[in-house]
Symmetry: none
Subunit: 346 residues, 2 copies
């Protein structure tokens, strides 16, 4: 079993289910577009989202993104250690760096120390496209070079007293990726983030990711996954979910669909959903039940109808749906109890 780390509220490794990640494709400096995309990813089933932070302006935007995101945020940093430090201070839930492209050892140590102070994990991500020269030895396969490179980095982190890490070894070559992950899986107990880089378009990217991520997961290797597609990242989530379902790694059980909330919502939906989740966590069921909790009358009734049990709030009422049919209108304050009873009875 792998060690357990947390990216925000999402546990990775240990006994945690394999989680689904994606990455925003918007300009991070444009926080409203970025947040809109994060909300779409959240609704689609994404559990952790990564955001590239290539410059100072992005760091400023990051603060807003972190505070308003429904998902834990990982900052993706390359080359510039100052951006890493500032991102951590902006309140991110995790950071991804490739230590190979941060040239100053003292700066790397500073990043590790700051992550430690803020109690956030670091993903050490080595990609086949950026292996440092010193690991490019003849007689070694590229998978071996990637593993050599990452093992050195792990040692540096451990020597710094920092073990809140996860590892990725991504290659655009699928067989190489499988080999590299099989090797590292035997060599360390840090949770593994799986992915195929530069997988390509929806067609070939789906196939590449399914083979690479899927064959590793089928053998019990991998703790969190990201499907990369040169397309709308929401499509990455659909492919990732299907891979997990195919391998029996995603229990459907009670599935809650809820809107990310916006100006139209007149109830405190985030708290309603939180309370509801809390209550539900105590109910055991073998059934797959899809529950939609929607904040307003725009998408609310549509989503709520599509679910087994649905609730859509208007300004003064809660509309209750069962298998697509409106069955009740209640005061919002009574609706939570009603939903819980419907779940117990179903």
């Amino acid at each position: 079993m792998k060690r357990e780390i947390y990216v925000g509220r999402v546990g990775i490794g240990g006994n945690h289910p394999v989680s689904i990640q994606s990455m925003t494709t918007t300009d991070t400096r444009d926080y409203s577009s970025t947040l809109a995309q994060i909300k779409r990813l959240y609704i689609a089933g994404c559990e952790i989202v990564r955001v590239a932070v290539p410059d100072q302006e992005s760091v400023i935007s990051l603060k807003t993104i972190v505070s308003e995101s429904p998902l834990p945020i990982i900052a993706d940093i390359h080359f510039n250690p100052d951006l890493a430090l500032k991102s951590i201070k902006a309140g991110i839930d995790g950071i991804r760096i490739n230590p190979g492209n941060i040239s100053s050892i003292s700066k790397l140590s500073k990043i590790i120390k700051t992550a430690s102070q803020h109690n956030i994990p670091i993903r050490i991500g080595v990609n086949s496209g950026s292996i440092e020269k010193k690991y490019q030895k003849s007689g070694k396969t590229r998978a071996e070079m990637m593993v050599d490179s990452v093992m050195d980095k792990i040692k540096f982190f451990e020597d710094s007293g920092f073990c809140n890490i996860k590892i990725s070894l991504k290659s655009s070559d699928v067989k190489e990726t499988i080999k590299a992950y099989r090797m590292i899986d035997n060599l360390c107990d840090y949770p593994l983030h799986l992915g195929i880089t530069e997988a390509g378009t929806i067609f070939s990217g789906t196939i590449k990711s399914s083979i690479g991520i899927g064959s590793l997961l089928a053998d019990g290797i991998g703790n969190t996954i990201r499907v990369s597609l040169t397309d709308d990242p929401v499509k990455e989530i659909r492919v990732a979910e299907e891979i997990l379902k195919v391998l029996g790694l995603k229990e459907k059980g009670i599935e809650i669909i809820s809107c990310p909330t916006c100006a139209r919502v007149s109830v405190d939906l985030i708290n309603i959903v939180k309370k509801f989740e809390e209550r539900l966590s105590k109910i055991k069921t073998d059934k797959n039940i899809k529950i939609a909790i929607m904040g307003c009358e725009v998408n609310g009734p549509g989503e709520a109808k599509d679910a087994d049990i649905g609730i859509a709030f208007s300004k003064s009422k809660a509309y209750i749906f069962k298998k697509g049919k409106l069955i009740d209108k209640l005061n919002p304050e009574n609706s939570l109890e009603k939903l819980i009873n419907m779940v117990i009875e179903s």
Copy 2:
């Protein structure tokens, strides 16, 4: 290495490349529709085609299909041994039976003898959905039951002096399929036909087949494959070809590697790649050309260098690589034309 068999002109096992199969979805009695579909499959890259033969009328039609088909024909027979005998006499190139559903031992012997006289191979195909009761023992996994069942059948064929066989062990459960094939691969040297049954729609079927077939092929298991989709069988060929390409098992032609884009990307990479794919689809080449189209300076230059032709965008420039060497710096808007010309010239 596995034994070598031949389905018509197509070698399976030995040093032969992994071949692609499909199955017609037309009414076999309607030979003109069936032949039309076989021709579409042939053009798409299918190498062997299977045709269901459920009744006497289909056998009559089969003669015409066999004589006019551009592809070797395998007859798929269940339950009725007489249809098997008549199909062999109709000139088919191979036959697929599940010996478990042919109840008469003497009839099974007759099929084996007739196949031997006509020098055609038999696929012994055991499916998880039709394991005979005697193999359904408690304490065994379903994968083990499938293997037990097929091993008994192999023994019967060998005792009859017939070794011109290939084996399939298909399950709709992907992990079970992987387990069953890994076991049988160790137990015998007959070539293996890979597939996932009831894989489903294009979306989930592509993912299921990619994981199941792909992870076995990645470990060198499997000699011929069939992707099953509830869709036009031509789509099965596209998925099968892509699986083989991803694993380096098929001459690639033009392969595009592209990044999933993120906030670092300053060009509209998704559209650039789409346009490029469109233009490329009109260029015919016998060569294997790997083209990397990368959005930024992080993994961009590394991946672009590793490709035959590469392009990495920065904020204002497109850097063009050929066989790892930077050969040009252009305005991004001129780069597509440059790449197309490089492909044509190479």
